[in-house]
Amino acid sequence: MRKRLFLMLVIILFAVIGVLPLLFMLFKSVTADGELNLSVFTEILATKHQWILMYHSLILSSAVALLSTFAGVLLGILFGKTDLPFRRFFTVLFVIPLLIPPYIFAISWSDLLAGLNYESFFGLMGCIMVLFSVFLPVPMLLTIFFLHTVDPRLEEAGLLAASWKEVMTGITLPLLIPAVILSFMLVFILSFGEFSVANFLRYDVYPVESFTLFAAFYDAGPAIAAALPLAGAALLFLLAGELFLRKRSYRPYLFSRYKVLTVKLGPLRRRLAFAIALFGFVIVIVPMIILLVNSGGLENYLEAFRRAGDSMFRSLGFAATTATLMTFFGFFIGYLVHTKALAIWRMADAVTIFLFALPGTVIGIGLISLWNTPWTNIVYGTPLIVIFGLLAKYTALTGKVSAVWLARIPSSMEEAAQAAGAGWFRRIVFIVIPLMWRGLAVAWIVGYIFSLRDTSVTMLVYPPGQDTLPVRIFTLMANGSPELIAALCVIMITITLLPAALLWLILKTTAAKVSLWQR
């Protein structure tokens, strides 16, 4: 009873943070003076400009989704399924662009190419290239994850009768089809909602419109109308995911006693590794080197601290606070989804994913339209609104991490405690949490990184004088010197990757020698 009550409270709290603002926004946009009024929609849909923007967005997202799904799935198979040298290192390398604010790579490339007097980097091509490298890790990681859900015994059975080539094409790859579809949709929706890169590279896309409309006129109506197609796209994504994933249960063998079988690459091994190293060097290392070189000497860093030190510390504070709260919500939502303890578990799962798919600008506008009243300044005028926004947008991630981790703990662990007379809180505190603290640490890192790199929510909702470093860099870009911007970007990358790497190291060195449930 306590369990259900507590989980219910967590869900209600999350709904107030994430869902209420959206409902309120929707309600406000379809009413005028207390009556139903759809004029904001009809007006906005009647302008040709809107359709051009929509077209731009569709082109950009499709191109990015196609390219990165193709390359990402390929890399995923190589890293997750073969004996390619340095595959672990490569995996980490390619993930880096996803971890830092996306526009940083846009800055870096445009710095280099502008130096070469190469103007056409601006616009569609530049956006595609930058977003490709940013979202490449998504299909890559999903592929690796799905490969780990393939029961190795299926493959072993196949290998008794056939070669690896036949087993791969006949058994393993067909099991990857959901990963491919999911990757495409996910990258599509993420690119669709991303606006900082397009904004910097001066390519007019749809989310930029809702942002500028809102920022310039502070008029929620048109912005909401502009945001609606984005919400629609997010909803479609959710439905499609439901269709493709619910059928199968994904038990990650990743954590079980079954080792993933690897394919021997043979003579190709070295050449492939070299090609991938070169590719990684160009799309990940080069941009970072450019920033490092451009940032020049110490004086630029001192200047950077002088101009943005306050934002930097705020960023760290917000990210750490949010990550902690996000781990809390993610754990209990993951627990709810894993144990199906309340009938609404599916709904709770769907809502977090919907919010993740929803462009941050939409969440931001929702938060502002709800909390911008004289009585709720405690939220609107304080960092609380930033924290709410980040929680709404990214809790899906910590929720999924928790659910996956919980799935590896046999249910008998908690049941044995129950049979021993322990109530739910005791079981959570003394059994479940100790058994998954590493999962919670991973969830925290994920929450920290995504809160830190965010611009899409924060840019809209931060209270005056309370901006974060990615937002400060973004605003300084208009008039700051290139050296200063480069130095700030280097700082940004450092404060993201350093704590993440540190925590990762701690997890690695404390790794249990023997898997817990193997007797």
Partner: protein, 218 residues
């Protein structure tokens, strides 16, 4: 007075009717062995008695008091005071032997001195004194078995459920532990519901043997 009474218990998972109208009465201090092929519903039956699963229909009584009825769990597992030894033993890997055994006592609010004493007695009873500080991963299969037994019995349950507890042990150890379980039952006088698919084991333990088959009614 019957210790456990199952009255017309039915349980399905989707289309799969696992238990069909099962009725059974277990008297105090009996040693019931439930015997049947893998997948016939033995674990499901135990989980219903323990309270982890509610029957779709039918009523379960413990000490003549209804504890579950037609999809409703009236008493949760933590309120039933039933000991259970799981098929995978479910020893908590992050706790030492002593902490594993102490957990239930702490949950029930047994105070420090008494707790220590009961743990000591229990470890002696299962012949595991001196192993207090070990982690489950540092024990052999038979030793883990004994700790799982100690953890369940330290709470002095009237009923002990065991789900194929010896299936992962070699034949020699299996026979030895059977004897130990029998002697513990005689010493402590609990009612035993024991699940196995090993014929030999079944006839050794049972005062009453119940055969189950697919979609069965007993």
């Amino acid at each position: 007075m019957a210790t456990i009474t199952l009255k017309n218990i039915t349980k399905s998972y989707g289309q799969n009717k696992v238990l069909d109208n099962v009725s059974l009465t277990v008297e105090a201090k009996e040693r019931i062995v439930i015997f049947g092929p893998s997948g016939c519903g033995k674990t499901t039956l135990l989980r219903i008695i323990a309270g982890f699963v509610a029957p779709d229909s039918g009523t379960l009584f413990i000490e003549d008091e209804p504890v579950a009825d037609s999809g409703v769990i009236i008493k949760t597992p933590q309120e039933r005071n039933i000991g259970m030894v799981f098929q995978d033993l479910a020893l908590w890997p992050h706790m030492s032997v002593k902490e594993n055994i102490a957990f239930g006592l702490k949950a029930k609010g047994v105070s420090g001195a008494e707790r220590e004493e009961r743990i000591r007695e229990m470890l002696e009873l299962v012949d595991m004194s001196g192993y207090e500080k070990r982690k489950p991963s540092q024990l052999s299969g038979g030793e883990q078995q004994r700790v799982a037994l100690a953890r369940a019995l330290v709470l002095e349950p009237k009923i002990l459920l065991m789900d194929e507890p010896l299936s992962s042990l070699d034949a020699k150890l299996n026979i030895r532990l059977r004897k130990e379980i029998l002697s513990l039952q005689q010493k402590l006088g609990f009612t035993l519901v024991y699940v196995t698919h090993n014929e030999d084991e079944a006839s050794d333990i049972a005062t009453r043997l119940i055969r189950m088959d697919f979609g069965n009614s007993i």
